[in-house]
Every structure is written in C-alpha cells, then in structure tokens.
Symmetry: C5
Subunit: 369 residues, 5 copies
C-alpha cells in the first residue's frame, strides 16, 4: 500500500464539522441575537404557502414575507414553508408577526440544535432533523427542520430548498387521506411522520453498508476497512444523537395537554413515538453490529499474522538444520573421514530427507499443515 | 484455508433483513395506510374459528372473512385466527367489523413491529413475536403474532400458516384445564404463555449451540469460529430486542385495570411476566457467555502464535550459531591452523554439541520446553 | 501441551444446564400443571415437623403428608420441611390443605425459578437459592428453597435431603436465642438469614479461588488458566443472577405491610437486606477482580512472546552477518587476495568479534539485555 | 526513537494537579475556615464595580473592599467583581457585609469545587468553571467563578485577573441588548451564558485537535500518539466532570421558584440549560471519537507488524531453501557426481530460479504481494 | 527477569482479606449475637470521655465502662470514644445502658460493614470507614468507625487505638470554632467531616501513585507494572465501595427530619455530602486514568515488539540474500566459469553492496529506519 492512500479522505473534515459548528462569532453578542450559523447560501429564500380546508386548497410561491401575513387570520389551515435561513430580515419579520420569542428564532437559525419540543402560550415549537445517508461518501447529511404549530397555521423552516415535502403537499392537494378534514395539528404530525420515515430509509442504507463492510472484512481484510468502520461508527453516533432527544421531544409532545393538539391526533403522535423507539432500537443494534465487524477484522488480521508466521516457521525449521548439516561437510578440515566414504554423500541425503519428513510429521501433528 | 471458504454464507443477508425491513414503498403514503410489509406469499389466507363455552365447543375453517362476523355477538368465547396477512381486503373487512383503529391494523401488517401493548376503549391489543431457533443455520426466525382481545372474542393474526396453536386448540376441544370455564382473557393469556414457552425452547437450543461453540473453540480454534460467534451474538441481540419490550408490554398489561381482564387472570399474567424476566436473565447470561467464548478464542489464537514462535526460536537459536561455526571452517584461507589439527574436526563437534546442550538447558530454564 | 488436555472438562455440560433447564416437556400443558422439572430422584420425600412455643418443643419425622395436617390449626408455631419434590401427589395434597395457589405450587416444583417474593391473602411466598461452592470442580451448586409463611406455620420445600437447617433446628430445640418466644415470621427470617450466611461462605471460597488463580497467572501463565478464569466468571454470573432478585424480594418483603409479619421482625429483615447488598457488592468486586486476572494473563502472554522474540532477534542479528562473512571466505574464486594474506584469518576473527561486541552494545542500549 | 523522548512532558504534572488539589493543610481546621487553597499569587486583589439602571451606568475600579458597601443599598443593579482570592481578609469583610454563610465563603475559596447551585434566604449561589483550551499544551485550564445573586446586586469571584467579562461590561456600558432594562437576575444569566459560550469555544478547539490526532494516526502512527490520545482523553474526562454537575445546577436554578429570579428570565435559563446539554452531548461524542482514534492507532500498529513480518517471511522463505541447495554443493565429499557434470552448475541455477518463481507465485496467491 | 520476582508480593493476601472477612464462625448463631469478627487484639479497650458545654470542658480516660454511665444524664454534651472492639462484655454493658438494639451492636462489631445510616427512636446510627493509604505497600487501610448520636451524647467505636480524633478533641478543649456552643449533632458532623477529609488525603496520595505509575510506564514498561496497575485498580474498587454507600448514608442523614439534628446543622451536612460527591468524582476519574495507564503499557509492549521485529527483519532481509550469493560461489562444481574470471570477486562485492543499498533504501521508504 503506497503512502498516498493513507491520507484521510477530504470527507473527514466536514464530518467533524457536523458535530461542532463555529460559534466563535457569537461570543459576546447578547442572547437572542438573530445570527445565522449555517453555511452561507447564494440562493434566495423560498417562501411557499399552502392554504386548505375540507372544501378547497390553494398553493402559492411568494416573493415577499409580507404576503404570508393575510393567511394568518383565515379559518383555513395555512402551512407556510420557509426554505433558506440566511436572510435574517425575513426571519425577523416573521418573528414579529407571529409573536415568536427571540430565543425560538435563535434556535431556528442555529442549525446544530438538538431535536427539541417547547410549548409556549401560543405555539408548539419543534426542532427536527431530516436525515439523508449519502451512499457515496457513506455520510449522513442532516437538514434542520423547525416547526411552529399555531392556532390554525403551521410554519416550517429549513435550510436547503429540497422537495422533501412534495409528496405531502400533493396528498393535500389531491385530498387523499384525512389531511383535508383534520386540522393543523394533524399536518404537524404528518410532517413529523415524514421525517421519521426518512430515518428508516437512512437505516436501510446504513444496514446495507454494514453488510457490505462485513462482507469485505471476510473477503479481504485490508487496512482501509478500519477507517470505514470508524466512519460508520461515527455516523451511528450522529444518528443516535439525533434520535434520543427526538424520542424525548415527541414523548413530551404526545403527553402534553394543550388546545393546539386535538385528542384525535394523540394516537398518531403515540404511533410516531413508537416508530422513533424502533429507530433507536435499530441504531443500538447497528452499533453492536459494527463493533462485531471490528472484532472480525481484528481477528482476521491476527489470523493472517499467524499464517505468515507459520509459513516462516515451517520453512525455517526445516531448512536451517539441513543447511547446518551441509555446512558441516563443506568444512575444510584435513581429517574428516566421512568425506572420503564411498556412500557418504547419499547417506547425508538420506539423513536430510529423514529430518525433513520428521519435521513435516511434527507440523502435521500440531495441525500447522 | 482457500479463499472460497471465506465467502459469507448466504445466510448473512436474511439475518440483516431481520433487523431492517424495506419501508421505502411506504414513504409518502398517509399514515394508517394498510400496506403489507412482509414477504409476499402465494398461499391463501387461512381463517379458523373456535367457539366455546363450558358446555360445548366448535371448530371451523372458513373460506370468507364475512363468515366470522356472526360469532361476534354470541355469548360464547370466540377465537378467530387469521394466518396470512398479505390479503389487505380481508384485513380491511375485519377492521371495519371489529372497529379496529387503522393504526392498529397498520401495526398488524407491519411485521417488524416491536412487541407492544395498547389499550383502547374496546380492545386490548398485543404484538408478540413467536420465536423459533433453526439449528441448521443457527438463526432465529420470528413470526409476528398480533392479538386483539375484545369483550367475548380473541382475534389472532400471524404470517405463517403454522400449527403453533394446535396444542392449545386441542386442550380447549378436550376440555382440559380451566380453559373452557374461563373467559377470553384467559385464552389470551394462554396464547401469551405458549409464545413465552417457545422462548425457553429457543433458549435451550441456543444454550446447546453456545456450548458446542465453546467446545469447538477449545478443540480447534479456527477462523470460521469468529463468524459463528458473531452470528450467535447477533441472534442474541435480536432475542434481546424481542424480549425487553415484551416485558414492558406484559408488565403494563398485568397492571392495567380494565373490564376486559378479570381479576382472577391477574396472577397468571404476573406469572408469565416472571417467565419473561427469566428469559431476559438468560439472554443476558448468554451474552456474557458468548463474549467469554470470544475471549477464549482470542487467547487460543495468541497462544498458538506463541507456540509457533517458540518452535522457530528454538530451532533458529540452536542452529544459527552452529551454522556459523561450520561456515568458519568452510573458509578457504591459506593459513588456518585448526584445519590441519589432527583432532580439529571431532573437537568442533564437541564444541557444537556443548553449545546445543547449553541452549536446550537455557530453554528449559525459561520453561520454553 | 498434548491435544487431549484441551478437551473441555466434563464439568462444562452441567454448568450450562444450571442456566437452562429443559422445559420442552411442559409446552402445551395448561399453566399451573404440577410437573417436576428438576433431576429425578430415587429417594423418598422426607417430611419433618417441628412444633414449638415458648414452653415446649416437638420434632417428628413423618411418613405421610396427611400427618402434618393436624398441626395447622394449633396455636403453636409449626415448621414443616419437605425435602424432595419429585412426588407430585404429596405436593398436590399439601397445596389443597394449605390453600396454595396452583401457580405457587408450579413455582415450587420449577427449580430454576428466580428468587422472588409474593404476598397473597393468606401467605407470604418466598423462593430462595441455597448456594454451595464446590472447591473441587470450582462450581456453584444451588438448591432451591421455597418458603411459605402462614398465620402460625412455615412450610419449606427443597430438593436435596441435606441437613442445612440442622443448626437452626437445634437452636430451637435448645431454646437458644429469641426463636421460641417469637412467631413464625421470625422463623422465616431465621431461615432467610441462614441462606444469606451461606452466600458469605460461598464468597469466601470463591475469593480464595480467585486469589489462587491470580497466583497461578503470575507464577505460570499457561493456557488452561483462560478456561478456569472463564469458568469462574460464569459462576459469578450465576451468583449475580441469584442475588440481585433476592435483594429485590427481601426489599419488598421488608417494606410490605401485612399481618403475617410483626413490626418487631422488620429490623431483622432490614438487616438481612443489608447483608444481601453486601453480597452483591462483593460479587461485583469479584467480577472486577477476575477481569483483572484475565488482563494480567493476557499481558503475561504477550510479554512472553516479546521475550521469545528478543532471544530470536539477538541470536539471529548477531550470527547472520557473521555467517555471511564466513560464507564470503568460503567462496572458491580463483583470485581472492585476502585468502592468501598471512594474517587474513585472525583479522577476520577480529572483525567478527568487533561486530558481535557492537551488536551486544546496541542491544544493551535498547535495554534488550 | 531515543530514550530521552520518552520522558513525560513536564505538562503531565499540572494536569494531575487539576484533579486533586492539596487539602492536607485544612485537615483538623474547623469547617467554614476561610483558607485559600488555590495557587499563591503576588498580585493584589482587583475590585471593580459596575452600577447601572436603564438611564445611567458607572464603572469604577476600587482600592478597598469597604468602598463597595455603599452600592449595596441603592436601587440600581450593582455588579461587584473580585479578581484574586488569596487575600482572605477581603473575603471576610465581604462575607460579613453581604451576610454570606461561612460555608459559602469556604466554597468560593476552595477552587476545585464542582459546579453547583445553592439557594439561601437571601442569595442564589452558583459555582461555575470558566474553561480555556490551551492549544500548545493541549490542556484545559479552568478558572473557578463564584457568583452570588442578591436582591439588587451580583457578586462574582475568580482567581485570575483576566478580561473575560470585558465584552459583557461593554455591552452594558453601550446599553446594547436588554441588559440595562433588566434586573440582576438577567445579569447573572448573561454571565452564565458567557461561561457556556466558552465551553463551545473549547470544544471547537478540542474538535480540531482530535481531527489532527486522527490525521496523524493515519499518516504516521508513532508511539508518542498514545500519550497524546491519553492526554486528550483526560482533558475530556475533566470537561465532563465540569459539565455534568453544571447541567444539574442550571437545571435546578431554572426550576427554582424564588423572588430573586423574575419569570421573564426563566426562558433564558432554560435556553442556557439546553446549551449545556448540547455541550455534554459533544463531550460524549468526542469521547467516543477519541476511543475510535485509539482503535485506529492500535490496528495501524498491528498492521505494520504484519507488513514487517510479511517482508521477513518472503525473503527468508525464498532464500533459506536456496542457501541450503548452495550449501549442498559446497560440500567436500570425495564422491559427489553432480559436481563433475558438465551442465550441473547451470542446472542448479535453473532449479533455484524455479523454486524462487514457485515461492513468488505462492505468495501472490495468498495475497502477500 | 528471574522467576523469583514473579511471586506475588505477600501483600496480595491481606488485600483480598479486605474484601471478604471470615464469617464461617458465625453461621448457625442466632442473629444479633455479639461476636467480634475483626482481627484479635492483645491491647485493652481504651475508653475516653470528653464532656463539655460552652463554659467548661473535661477530658478523662476511664478504666471501666461503668464510669461512663453518669455522663449520660447530664445536660452537657458527652463524647465517649471506645477504641478496641474485641472485648464483647464492654460492648454488651454499653448496649444495655444506652438502649442500643442488638443488631446495631452486631453491626458495630462486624467490621466489614458497608457505610450506612440508620435512624431509630432514640439514636442516629452511622457506620463510617476511616481510610489511610499506605504508600509503601500501595494499599488502603480502613478502620471502621461506628457513631451513635443520642439526645446529648455521641458514642464512637473503632478498632485501632489511633489518635485520629486528637485534632478535634484539641479544638474542643481550646474552645476554637463553634464546637462548644453547638450540640452533639454538630460534634457528630465534625467527626464525619474529619473522616471525609481523610478521603481527600488518601486520594492525594493515590493521585501521586498513579502519576508515578504513568511515569514508569513511559520510562520503562516492564512486567511488574501490570501487577502494580491491577493493585491500584483494586484499591480504587475498594475506595469506591466505601464511598458510594457513604454518599447515600449522608444524603439520607441530611434529608432526615429528626429532633436529634438541629436545623442549623443541616447546611453542614449538605456541605459534607458535597465533599463526598467530589470524592466519588475523583475516584471515577482515577479509575479512568488507571485504565489509560494500562492502555499506554499495552501499546508500549506492542510497540517494543514491533521494534524488535523490525531490527530482526532488517538484518535478516539484508544478509540472507547475500549469504545465499556467497553460498553460490562456495560451491565446488567443476565447471563454474565465474570463479575463474579475473574480476569475479570484486564484481560480486559490487553486486552485494548494491543489494544492500537497495534494501536500505526500501526500508527507508517504508519508514522502518
């Protein structure tokens, strides 16, 4: 293996970044300062509104945050989705209009928040992590989704302008399921459900990765595997960090007694809670498995060493004594009677073959061959 | 060992599948969608009804789900067993007629559910795992059993058309035990009891497997053992995942105060709870033991390496100096007085034997021989 | 070490049996079936009765279970000890007469029960494990003791006809201590106290065994030690399994408010609870110690390997270059001027000795010598 | 590697001191004795007062502790910062004037206190640890900050005369944020917030260090890394010891109902609590990662050993048999027919090359080359 | 290393004794039997009484236990210290006069009691462990101190006639601190405080020992270190066993509402509780550190092995091929044209030097040199 291969993949750096985000710029600022800590983005903030009740449904992409405000006071369910958090003025306007506490706004912008649930007088506030496992780099990517559930509206905030909510929006527009008949709390639940479904997706892919690792360890245990195993371990640590607090948050949410959540929604929240528990179960199982893979790797390595040693030992212990014998009769003493015997040379060969056979027998008895 | 032997057994793949089942097809569907996630089956759904009270008993195999409905309103205890979950229309009909919440139906069809207990207004809902340890592949097979206990009926759902309930059915038909005199809650308990009894069966077989592994590790510690040990570890992880939530579920069931469960049934539920605790105890013990087996294996391997090294070292350290001596007197210097001495050759042999004896003594003192 | 020595001791099998007892024969039987799961015994069931109050005391060995019944209704304290559980008719008769729930009877016969405590309307039911550490096989033997405390009687059940209760019986007969003045609850406590005292005895012997193991590991770390260490680990796992639920059981018993236990007995129960906590403490300590012993063993092995390698390396690195030099002057080139020099041979010796000295110095500097 | 390099860095000693501070001089003294346990300092105690309300603000450096007393009874918020704890008379004067319990004073002076929270009738008392990670020595430095929150004043005590509070003081003087409008409880919160922000800073640097370690382990796994890994582990242990009790303390503080903390401050305290939980999460993650780095190191080392062994084995197994063959034909037997054959020498070369090629093929098949 | 050095130090035996004390002699005795389980002592029991209130103080050494009785009913605070527990008649007399429950007396005499707290109607009963770390044997020595706090007296019992309480007695006699003005509860607290202060002392010494171990592991990792590390681990296990229940006991004591403890003493008890928590923290930290030391040791050993292997490999791979070449030209074939070439010998040297240089280059590239 050439030394070049040993360089850490450039991927190592972002994976550490996932755990620690630079906060240095915030030190000294008053708390509740609205500072975006994520990666800078060139794109514009995308605002989309979905307004519906049992009878009608309307979907609109808006240009300015002020256009969302009229929806607040209608009787219909309004879902405002904000994709892109870098424009702090947009956030401030929303915060003002929907009476969001500055600390909540700060949490929305601080994208390495742990999943959490908070209940204020007017809102239910949820921080979620949408996960995606990138098969090429074997890395988890997380997109923080903040959800605010008000009396008749749901606000969602996330960084990337992805289409993760597209199937849900379609379902509402097509009037499938109970979505249209139920209130904003059921919408919030549906968003939560989609997020947790993506956890299962990520787990499926991770499961396949672990299987592939296991296969490779058995086929060809080379050094790069240790790094891959460690990376997988780290992704599982990350996944664990994302799921345990989520369980807590959803558990609290499903127990909470608030007017914002109708009793009929409670079974659904308990169901999603069960799913999260299953995710945690699987994460813990995968952690056990990945340690198992490391154990197999280590025992493969020591096994290989053992085999190398055996070959060396067999060859050396057979030939070293024979070489000694040959050396003896290569000596130039004036008086060495054997050298002059007629059958000396063949006799020595006989002795040598006998030694060799004895050695081989010994090795067989020890099960080295 | 040839490279071919190192390929993972085809069994590795299903064992991973056991932990993660494909859910991708469900993403985007509304919650409560009745989609079967298990393996597709060609067979028909088998419906059987057992209707009994203290005086009479009747057992029938039915062709259509609608034939089960008349039993619902009789005063007798009715046990409807549904084997095969792939026909979602059957499930929907049952769901409607017995007023089962869509989320419960979803749980019944989603066959990698964790064991759980739920109490609704009209039902007790239990998810169980019937386990079977396959000695040939050293793998656990699980069949999910969902049980719904209503006012005077018990519904059970499972995938495989096995005869796991045959002994129980016979007991009822023969009128043995208290079955016929007691209500549907005692029937539900009896089913639970059979499931837990199968856990003990599985544990017995696993115990024998671990013993065999231990024996093999001591007899002939070869590489394939690591895989077998890891597989056994994984099966124990699976077993653990199946038992811990079951304990919780049965614990909750036995504490719950509901009209569906008579007070006289409570001691039986506590008894089955005790059995589950014992199963968990044994699973934990087996986990400790299997790590012990791995420790023995690893120390065997390093011990073997040690022995190989010792043989090499003994042979090499004895003969290398002697070969050097032989080399000396094989040199062709014009002026080497020893070569001409009358007793040079025998004297050299004497020196060599002395060196050899010294070495052997040294090795003995170090306890290498 | 010959291959024969590597066979597992026949003792390995029973020790696994200790953890899993065959239950296969019970599957399908109705719960509460009175089936003896222990080892079959040829002996007869031994029944003995001790009847006492402050004034008088009477001890009798009985032939039939029916002879015990008159004692039930006397005002004196009656202790009925049943040694041998294989005769299920005896058990059934007792069960009927003393109104023992079938599940309790089942627990008494099922001799791999966990220690437990149950309170019914009429009885306190305790399952205990009497432990004995067999120094020869380094194995723990457990005898299950079931205790039923009624209004004015104590029933004890155990498998082996040992004399474990002899000292207690003597104490009662001699009227020593408070036994005679106190009620059946104090008798039950005294039995519990004896059982826990035997735990300390077992721990003493195990402590000596661990010390011996530690000594052997330091003196002569050979392979058989790993097995002995693993066996000891297993016995500690077993001990742990026996003590943790006992703590729970005795804790519950000492907190329970029931007429069957007088307030004056409570401090004694708390005292025995303290003793069990101390036993658990020691078990955990021993577990830590035995891992320490394994660590010492493993580091001894790797240390030995190290020493072997050093010897090989020192010998090889000294003589391989010298042998090369000797080989050079053993060549038969027609034109090798050194061969003809007058002082060539002594000069070569000088060079060789210098190389040797240099090597030795190098090894010393590296602290290999 | 020369022996000199193996000496522990002088940094090892202070790092142990961090965990255990000499208390021997205190033994036998009555509790509540005001004895400074930190390192002696030559500097003077520095006293600074910041007095403000919404309208005005005043900052003063004072020479004597008595000058601070008039501020106590003003209606404005007063922040008295004491830098340097070695002058016990200063402490005693403050204690008397502000009615501080001797045990609290003792805690302030005892600078290896765990973070804690205490509520007395008149004060909230907090012990915090200001952390700083020194990149050169890879060590954490902690400065204990004790905070006393009274009716309208805040007292802070710390050892080093650093400028950690400078940004906060500036913010107050410039009237930025809510500081000036809010009371002393908000000031206390702000100090707490700054301390926790520094934890994130320390974590960022530690994260970079772990990354660098990981990189070095992959690039060049030499022995010094084990020490660096162990040092990092120890710093993480220290960090953990500082954060877990802090979580507890802030959790208790945010739940406490006291007049000293206004309801509007509670969300801020919960927010800082969330931050501490996040810090703990990261510390645990880093602990997992650093063990991963150790695993990579150990597998690198064993991998290297493996490679070394392979090279030795390949060279030795190729040349030892060949050398034996050469030795054979170097023997001086009178009757060795091969020696006289015309093509003997080239034939031997052919045999030797064949052996060599066979060996190389074998090694390739085993994937050693 | 000679075999003699490998014998376990005689210190190993007492250290095991510390964990398990012989109880065999007690089995069969009625509970509450007053049997001394400690080591037999030749000395007499030493009784000393200290009687004080705010105005006067008197200290007396008594010959007979009956002389202490008059002090019981005085209004002053009386502290009776009993050093030496082997005289059971003394204990019985005290037990009778002070109305001590036989089980409490049994606990006092049973000197391997866990630290505990008990509240009876008339007494607070505390069992403490006074610890001392012996630097020579690197062992902890524990002396059990039992404390009984009554209405206006404190009784203390301990085995060794040490002067551990001398500084406290002096403080009382000199009237320093609050001792004289406060009641017996404050005296009990002061004793507790001294005991915990000695824990810090022990920890300081242990910390120095761990540092020394770490230094030695880095300087000269020889085999004896494993034993020293294991011994230290064991002492930390012992320390842990002594502190965790103490925390519980003092926690319970400080929460208990009893007339025996005045409210003003509560903050002091909470303070000592905080100290114990700190001790536990440090014990856990030391446990982590000592495992770190073991890790460093193990990696040092494997590193050394690696270096040894490298030297062997370098020497062998350089000289084995060269020796082969020399062997070739030492053959006696009749027709070997090279042997007759004029520049054959120098040419061979050139080839050999080239091979050597190539090898060295290869090793350098692999970073083995």
């Amino acid at each position: 293996m050439s030394r070049k291969k040993r360089r850490p993949k450039s991927g190592a750096r972002p994976s550490m970044k996932k755990f620690v985000r630079k906060r240095s710029q915030k030190i000294g600022l008053p708390p509740g300062s609205i500072v975006y800590l994520g990666e800078p983005a060139a794109r514009e903030v995308r605002l989309s509104v979905l307004d519906y009740d049992a009878e009608h449904v309307a979907h609109r992409e808006l240009r300015s945050v002020d256009e969302t405000f009229p929806f607040k006071d209608t009787a219909t369910v309004t879902w405002i989705d904000v994709a892109g958090l870098h424009d702090t003025t947009v956030m401030e306007r929303i915060g003002e209009h929907y009476c969001i506490h500055p600390l909540v706004l700060e949490d929305i912008l601080n994208t390495d928040q742990r999943p959490k649930f908070e209940l204020t007088d007017e809102h239910v506030f949820l921080v979620l992590k949408m996960l995606r496992f990138d098969t090429d780099t074997a890395e988890l990517h997380a997109d923080q989704i903040s959800l605010i559930l008000g009396a008749n509206y749901v606000l969602t905030f996330h960084e990337r302008a992805g289409d993760i909510f597209a199937p849900l929006r379609e379902r509402i527009e097509n009037g499938k399921g109970k979505m249209r008949r139920f209130g904003p709390d059921y919408l919030a639940y549906s968003i939560l459900d989609i997020v947790v479904d993506h956890y299962f997706l990520a787990l499926e892919t991770i499961g396949e990765h672990i299987e592939a690792l296991e296969h490779d360890v058995l086929e060809n245990p080379d050094r790069a595997l240790v790094e891959r195993i460690q990376n997988m371990k780290r992704e599982l640590i990350y996944l664990r960090k994302a799921t345990w607090p989520l369980r807590e948050a959803v558990g609290a949410l499903s127990r909470e007694e608030t007017d914002l959540i109708r009793p009929s929604t409670h079974p659904y929240l308990r169901d999603v809670h069960d799913h999260i528990v299953q995710v945690i179960d699987m994460v813990e199982t995968f952690r056990d498995m990945i340690s198992g893979v490391l154990d197999i790797y280590l025992s493969s390595v020591s096994n290989r060493m053992n085999e190398v040693m055996k070959v060396l030992t067999i060859i050396a212990t057979i030939f070293i004594p024979l070489t000694f014998l040959a050396g003896i009769y290569g000596m130039n003493f004036a008086y060495m009677p054997e050298l002059r015997w007629r059958w000396g040379y063949p006799a020595l060969w006989a002795v040598m073959l006998a030694v060799m056979a004895g050695m081989l027998l010994y090795f067989r008895r020890r099960r080295w061959l």
